[in-house]
């Protein structure tokens, strides 16, 4: 097995690793501009697709590396926590989060990133998250039956479709790529000024690559004296 269980190295060292990963994650979020609610909300209008591209790329890359490590025996997939599926709770929670995301312009992680840079909207969003968590904790017993309804346990796509994991991984990667193409097309249609219209395949792309790699030389200054 690979050395992925950092807490087995010792709690101080393990927590230190988590801390460093957290710093790196926050640094990357902020440097990518994900602490700005306008950038985050823009993905819902197909105006700014940075978040969609980054998150989907991260998801697919992590999925590929995780299952590759599992295939070669470096990682025990059953050690990975997979949230249990409760259909009713997942649908309702997803709706609430989606509405909150587009109204507030943040998801929980990016709201912390924004609050860390003292943006007022981020700070208030985080406060709202805390209040919401507290209210949920105090009230979940009233809806316990509904909350735990439609339980399907640790359900994954290969189990749901009855397909080998590798096939599902390939399908997910292909779907993500297709999703990028569709979102690009939507952006060009609705927000042409924001769209990146540079081609990335074909002869025009080769020409673009040529110009980027070998820019025209600056003309020499000729003395008029």
């Amino acid at each position: 097995m690979g050395p992925f269980d950092v807490m087995a190295w010792g709690s101080a060292l393990g927590l230190g690793v988590y801390f460093l990963i957290g710093i790196a994650f926050g640094f990357i979020l902020e440097s990518a501009g994900f602490g700005d609610s306008r950038k985050l909300a823009g993905q819902f209008y197909a105006k700014d697709l940075s978040v969609v591209r980054v998150m989907f790329t991260a998801i697919i890359t992590a999925m590929l590396l995780l299952f590759l490590a599992s295939s070669v025996g470096l990682l025990d997939y059953s050690d990975i926590w997979v949230n249990h599926t409760y259909v009713f709770a997942d649908v309702v929670g997803g709706l609430i989060m989606g509405v909150g995301f587009i109204i507030g312009g943040y998801c929980p992680g990016t709201s912390l990133c924004s609050a860390a840079t003292l943006k007022l909207d981020g700070v208030f969003f985080v406060l709202g998250v805390f209040v919401g968590i507290f209210l949920f904790g105090e009230s979940v017993d009233w809806i316990r039956e509904a909350w735990f309804a439609n339980a399907h346990g640790r359900l994954t796509l290969p189990e749901l479709f009855g397909l080998p994991t590798g096939i599902v991984v390939l399908m997910a990667a292909a779907l993500a790529f297709a999703f990028f193409l569709v979102m690009d097309a939507l952006q060009r249609k609705f927000w042409p000024k924001h769209a990146d219209t540079r081609p990335w395949f074909g002869k025009r792309a080769a020409g673009e690559l040529q110009r980027e790699s070998f820019p025209p030389s600056r003309p020499k200054r000729v003395s008029m004296s």
Binding site: M1, Y77, G153, G166, V169, P199
Partner: protein, 211 residues
């Protein structure tokens, strides 16, 4: 950066094809990867529950007891423990998917120990907590209990070799759980001696989401 898209897509598809070709380890493969951690529990008999301890848990209401019978349907219909349910070894992954109840105690039951141990290895590799094997299987259970009473003399340990896994006892009719030994009376607990081996892991595995 856009010119990297075809390269990235190619890498994704390439990795996906490698993963498809290699496949994922099955529960037996997972067990072999972690054998040094799990095998001592079998070798030291810590994964086996004696009939007396199982009888105790059959009457213990604070513990969620799950009895899984991994025998053939024919043997199950002849005799099985009260409230046990029959599952094929291939259906065990369904338990693993739904499992995560920290108070649940799962006992695997075979005619002997061989099939139950195979199932134990599967469930243990899939991180199902609190899984044990009935020591000696139902052959030993039926050696110990006789029509709702204890046999005399009491067999102290299973007599069968580990690889024996067929039902040694004969039945005139298929009584299933209606047989008096499917759940012997609680009063027998006072006459039974056993070594308690169950250690319930009560802490649920938890994880987080992402934001």
């Amino acid at each position: 950066m856009k010119r990297w898209i075809p390269l990235a897509a190619g890498i994704w598809i390439g990795l996906g094809l490698v993963i498809t070709a290699l496949g994922q380890p099955d529960p037996e493969g997972l067990y072999e990867l972690r054998k040094e951690r799990y095998q001592p529990r079998l070798d030291e008999r810590r994964a086996f529950v004696q009939p007396g301890e199982l009888l105790h848990y059959m009457y213990e209401t604070s513990v969620d007891l799950q009895l899984i019978d991994v025998r053939s349907e024919r043997d199950f219909n002849l005799f099985h423990l009260l409230d046990s349910r029959r599952l094929n070894e291939s259906e065990l992954t369904g338990i693993a998917r739904l499992e995560e109840k920290p108070q649940r105690l799962t006992i695997l039951i075979g005619n002997g120990e061989a099939a139950a141990v195979r199932s134990w290895k599967q469930l243990t590799a899939l991180k199902v907590p609190n899984v044990y094997v009935l020591e000696g299987g139902l052959n030993h259970w039926l050696d110990l209990f006789n029509e709702g009473r204890l046999s005399t003399p009491q067999p102290s340990s299973p007599n069968d070799p580990p690889q024996l896994d067929h039902l040694r006892h004969a039945f005139d009719q298929a009584l299933g759980a209606r047989h008096p030994d499917s759940r012997p009376p609680k009063t027998l607990l006072k006459q039974l001696s056993y070594e308690p081996r169950v250690q319930l892991k009560t802490k649920a595995r938890k994880g987080g989401g992402c934001g």
